[in-house]
Symmetry: C2
Subunit: 465 residues, 2 copies
């Protein structure tokens, strides 16, 4: 739209309009109503938004800028003069601004903050140190654990019309300021990624060939919101040294290198391993944490277990009459709950690990659960027979009824545990919850409570009490 | 020694001597007495050994060659004419030979097979495909899980007197046959590694500089027998793309690249995670294994647990009189063994993970155990108070003595479990056993058996029975 068109839409002077928008924005931002602030900017011209933003108090400028849609953002950014662009970058680092954004829920941020235009991201992140990038990542709109959060802007991009010789010259000049020179990225005039090549390709090519002739157009790249675990899987599958990160319009915004992937893999693994034993991981060194932190990270899972065991205890109390008559039944409680818990843990461990490494891919959930159920039946039968013999000979001295109750319960509990252990991770994944964190407490509850119920009801039946 | 010296040592003709050695060797190798075969070769001249080896049946030639000491091996190898050298390489691949070596225990192999000379390794492994290398690794003398087993011979080596321009030309010509061209290795005339440089260093240098001027002499490398987990740690710590592997004389024999390290890390992690739940890992895809394999990998740990629980059951039986009088005591058995097992698992998990990631480095074992013991006491107190209140109100309805027995036992069991959970991994590591595989069964045994004993003795004391 030109200046003429705009003046037909309003009878206000442009100056009055800009002042109105500025004061509307300021009121709404002060009230924290970011949704409304975003809405009122929709019909306003980029040039007017730019002026309005420049008139806002410093901490509000960045927030207002982040409320713009992606298309608006690039236009407004271009309207700002370069000193204001520069000062906007500076403000991205300001703690008060980061604090405001940090208080928003991730959902709100995702709803309010659209992607930033690739040109702005490039400008912003290249001016930030890695640590600053870490802290301003929220403001950039990249959630923790996504590719956007771990990417670096220090890559070398080439154009298709460059010759190999020109490219080598460019690499030589950039080699000291870029993270890797071994993976090279080819973009068009729109910043869109059109191909990848390696320094190896370049070294083996003729100096007068053009990049367009030798680049690899078979792109493997990730989006800024791709989960970092997925990034690890892709780099691992393709044996890459680095992978490009693009926005939703295929514009190159950064790369992720294999050394960062190794660190992420280590961190994610620790998280998974800790989760299996009910220890919370916070990405730092456990052995440098204070005693209170250590206890805090472990107490939640123990409290859940206490609750579960309270239920089991209450069920045992309900069987008081039976236990009073046949005290020998209580000798086998640790055996039954212990074995059940372990069969369940084995099933859930292999399923959760299979999800994380993608080895489970080839099988559907039903197939996995069926197979684990069969394994549980097989293992339960082996254990049940052994336990029946052992109980008959050493513990109940010939009272085969009790021994049989124990043996049959072991089979039932093993099947129950392996089915629950393999089914719950799938259920939690479907519900969008982390299987590794959620499965263990539920499996213990199911196995302990149902296991004890099965045992006592079987015993009543077999002992005819 | 010259031909003259040797003839003074024996009155036999050289031909007779060679025939004698050949027939001695053949008899000993047929009897499988490799130690004796190794011994009789000690005083024999390399040239005679070479002739004797050539006269042996095909499958025995390689075995005899592998019995030579490193110094002898290089001399004998050089005495062989190049067609025999070539045929020796061929024989390294033969299945019968591999089978013989496979039957030897790793100790025997280590005792009998010295390192191969770097020149021979280079020649051998460069003629083998990666799969062949995998299968012949035993014969090369590299045990599973060591750097020698995962290294590749496809690297580029340079000499210090090369200019940057010459080096770039060499890289260009080798780029299609080598695994990486980004890490370059500089060796002297003795094959000893004297420095490393990256293609980045080369690209930013002047074409007429020599390699000697720009290489990095601050070497980080691993030995052929370095554990692969250590290789992962070093690559991770230094953010390397590849690491050189040298023999005991610092001669370069291969490199390990970061993409292989990612695969190893994944495999080792699966092993660790499986071990925590008592599932054996065999480095393949669990979801492609047969049902019987699945059951086999899980049954061992369940049988150990069955044994442990049998002991716990027997102890409960010994407390029969007490359980008969106060049946309510049995309600809390799952709570006590369950919580104990979990506190122990939490401690052992963080300690084992800390060992694997080296995060534990800064702390001595005693300091770690002390800290875990304190955490156990803190967690036990929280759980004990809650359990006492819960038991008093809901289960034993005012019988505070029983509730107190439960609460105090929980504190004692938590301390016991966290101390055992943190101490046992250190003990197993000191004994040269894998903490991840060994700790869990022992912790369960200690906690279950001692925990139940503590509980009943406390109850007798408090209830004055």
């Amino acid at each position: 739209m030109t200046e003429e068109n705009k003046s037909t839409l309003t009878t206000m002077s442009r100056k009055e309009l800009r002042e109105l928008v500025r004061s509307q924005l300021q009121v709404l931002l002060e009230r924290g109503d970011l949704q409304a602030a975003k809405t009122i900017l929709v019909p306003v011209q980029p040039a007017d938004i730019a002026e309005a933003i420049e008139g806002l108090p410093e901490t509000m400028q960045v927030i207002a800028f982040r409320l713009l849609s992606k298309d608006e953002a690039i236009e407004v950014y271009e309207q700002l003069d370069s000193s204001v662009q520069q000062s906007l970058c500076e403000k991205f680092k300001r703690q008060e601004v980061i604090d405001i954004v940090d208080k928003m829920s991730p959902d709100d941020r995702a709803r309010l903050f659209e992607e930033l235009p690739a040109a702005v991201v490039r400008r912003l992140v290249s001016q930030l140190s890695p640590t600053e990038r870490q802290t301003t990542a929220l403001l950039l709109g990249y959630e923790a654990g996504t590719a956007g959060r771990i990417m670096t802007p220090e890559y070398i991009s080439l154009k298709e019309h460059y010759t190999v010789g020109q490219s080598l010259e460019r690499i030589r000049s950039l080699a000291n300021v870029t993270e890797t020179i071994y993976s090279l990225y080819v973009t068009d005039s729109d910043r869109q990624l059109t191909g990848i090549l390696s320094l190896r390709d370049l070294v083996t090519a003729q100096l007068d060939q053009t990049i367009g002739e030798i680049l690899n157009r078979d792109l493997v790249c990730v989006q800024t919101d791709t989960d970092q675990e997925e990034v690890v899987r892709i780099i691992q599958r393709y044996d890459f040294l680095a992978i490009p990160v693009v926005d939703s319009e295929q514009r190159l915004v950064g790369i992720i290198t294999v050394d960062d992937v190794l660190d992420i893999l280590q961190e994610e693994t620790t998280e998974d391993i800790y989760a299996l034993s009910g220890v919370q991981s916070e990405g730092d060194n456990y052995f440098q944490a204070s005693l209170l932190t250590v206890a805090r990270r472990r107490v939640i899972w123990l409290l859940i277990l206490l609750l579960t065991n309270s239920v089991t205890g209450a069920i045992l109390k309900m069987q008081q009459d039976l236990l009073q008559q046949v005290v020998a039944l209580s000798f086998f409680i640790p055996l039954l709950t212990g074995t059940g818990g372990n069969v369940g843990a084995q099933s859930s461990t292999v399923v959760i690990r299979g999800m994380n490494t993608d080895e489970i891919r080839a099988m559907g959930p039903l197939q996995v659960i069926w197979r684990e159920g069969l394994a549980g039946a097989l293992l339960g039968t082996i254990l049940g027979v052994l336990a029946t013999v052992w109980a008959t000979v050493f513990i109940v001295e010939g009272n085969v009824s009790i021994a049989l109750s124990v043996g049959i319960s072991l089979v039932a509990i093993s099947i129950l545990a392996s089915v629950a252990g393999s089914a719950l991770p799938f259920l939690f994944r479907t519900l969008g919850l982390d299987p590794a964190l959620m499965s263990a407490p539920f499996i213990t509850t199911v196995v302990d409570v149902l296991g004890v119920l099965i045992y006592f009801n079987l015993a009543r039946l077999i002992l005819q009490l």
